[in-house]
Symmetry: C2
Subunit: 242 residues, 2 copies
DNA sequence: CGTGTGTTTGATCGCTTTCAAGTTCAGTGG
DNA sequence: CCACTGAACTTGAAAGCGATCAAACACACG
């Protein structure tokens, strides 16, 4: 690709012009020149649901911005038990800076579009740009807050509270202001029952039973397995334990 | 205190000269001038085991370095259930940058010595010192790794594996190279059975029973409640599920 | 129309919790 | 030094919740 086609008079690379992640994510912290050097080395990737992005103990040679879709981060025990330890949504940054080997596995939970770039390129930019490092610190702190919230759920909530908490988590991703108003909210679950179970530290059967319970109690309506209507978010919150 | 007594010819403030955290922690990233301005605003605090450092939803006006002891971070449910979501040891940095309200509670798990300084002072230094921000990013990434390890333990391990994992965690803090050699290792638990239970998402009775099981199996020896001798670290690791 | 995958439902089992004593330990005052 | 006291810990018995095993159901696809 020629420079003429790649770079606008404004200095913003063409592929970045229409990119949702440009303002929200990593790229929003870069000046035009830095953005250009990152864009030159980056490529858009489409992944089907279920595809593996990063393998456990695998050398990581790329970082990515999530442009759309949901990525799940998992850890496993030698005997096959699995736990999802994080969910990442657009426009999150994906990758573990300053560490060559990943201790976790990443999979596409839905169809996913990424903007990937080499580890080296980004690490060079980090050294140049305190704003970028500040952005990463903030995202990492947010992920840590989320992980700790989830530890409370995993360690101290019962099955019903776990499932209710999960539904609230997804509902809030769709509409962050879901609680105060008691409007109903509808969405499609980005994950299968097995994945939900791996997220909640439960089995599929238990997840299914708790969804049934919430359905019978009139808190939610379920259709086609994945489609959820939360009739009464406030009642769902009451069942989530907090 | 006069400057003459506070500052050495080298430029290193006197109280910092003998400080263990000076090289390992936040202060190691600062130049002499920055260290001096931080030292001027900081004060050493001794806290008894059980003291509250940061309350939930309380405005945080100070950050700290942990000079000695163990700090536990907890989250609770409205009905009183509690979960420990993190342990911090010297020379960790304590506090949640860029957020006025704490979402968690911090308590001294043992007697603790802190070096505290005002939020404002550190935030000013962060703006000046990319090295400091880099240090904080690294510590936060490490804490996130630890939190995710623990999510696997909370969600997918049974009671015996949880207790074994906890003992390994503490043993590794005492001696990081505890696994490869099969030497025995002895230490005092920094936490009560209730705290261990809150860490593992179990009850005190279950923690006690699993410790008894490990004792009967000859994996550990327990005396005076808190003192543990791990006779065979490798067998302990085998029982931890990974 | 059959096949396969994902989900629901049912019955039973087992682990962890709960409730209820005991026991050990550290601290205090005689 | 020892007896007393309260807190922390251990042990036991029973109950409950989620896991496991098994079967039925629903939907997509060839």
């Amino acid at each position: 690709m020629s420079e003429r086609k790649d770079v606008q008079p404004s200095g913003v690379p063409v592929p970045c012009l229409t990119c949702d992640a440009r303002s929200g994510g990593v790229c929003g912290t870069l000046d035009a020149e830095q953005l250009a050097s990152l864009a030159k080395a980056s490529s858009k990737k489409r992944l089907e649901s279920g595809a593996e992005l990063i393998g456990d103990a695998q050398t990581v040679e790329a970082y990515s911005n999530i442009l759309s879709g949901v990525v799940k981060l998992t850890k496993g025990l030698p005997d096959g038990r699995e736990q999802i330890v994080g969910l990442q949504f657009a426009p999150d940054f994906l990758g573990r800076p300053f560490q060559d080997e990943s201790a976790i596995t990443a999979h596409a939970a839905t169809n996913v579009v990424l903007c990937s770039f080499p580890k080296r390129t980004l690490e060079m930019l980090i050294k140049q740009s305190p704003r970028l490092e500040h952005f990463l610190l903030n995202q990492t702190l947010r992920e840590l807050d989320e992980a700790r919230d989830w530890m409370l759920t995993l360690g101290r909530k019962n099955a019903l509270e776990k499932v209710a908490s999960y539904l609230l988590l997804i509902a809030r991703y769709i509409d962050p202001a879901v609680d105060p108003d008691s409007q109903s909210i509808a969405f499609d679950l980005p994950m299968s029952r097995l994945e939900i179970a791996d997220f909640l530290g439960l089995t599929i059967e238990t997840v299914s039973r708790q969804l049934t319970k919430l359905r019978i109690d009139g808190v939610i309506a379920v259709s086609q397995n994945r489609h959820i209507v939360v009739a009464n978010p406030e009642r769902l919150r009451m069942r989530s334990g907090c």
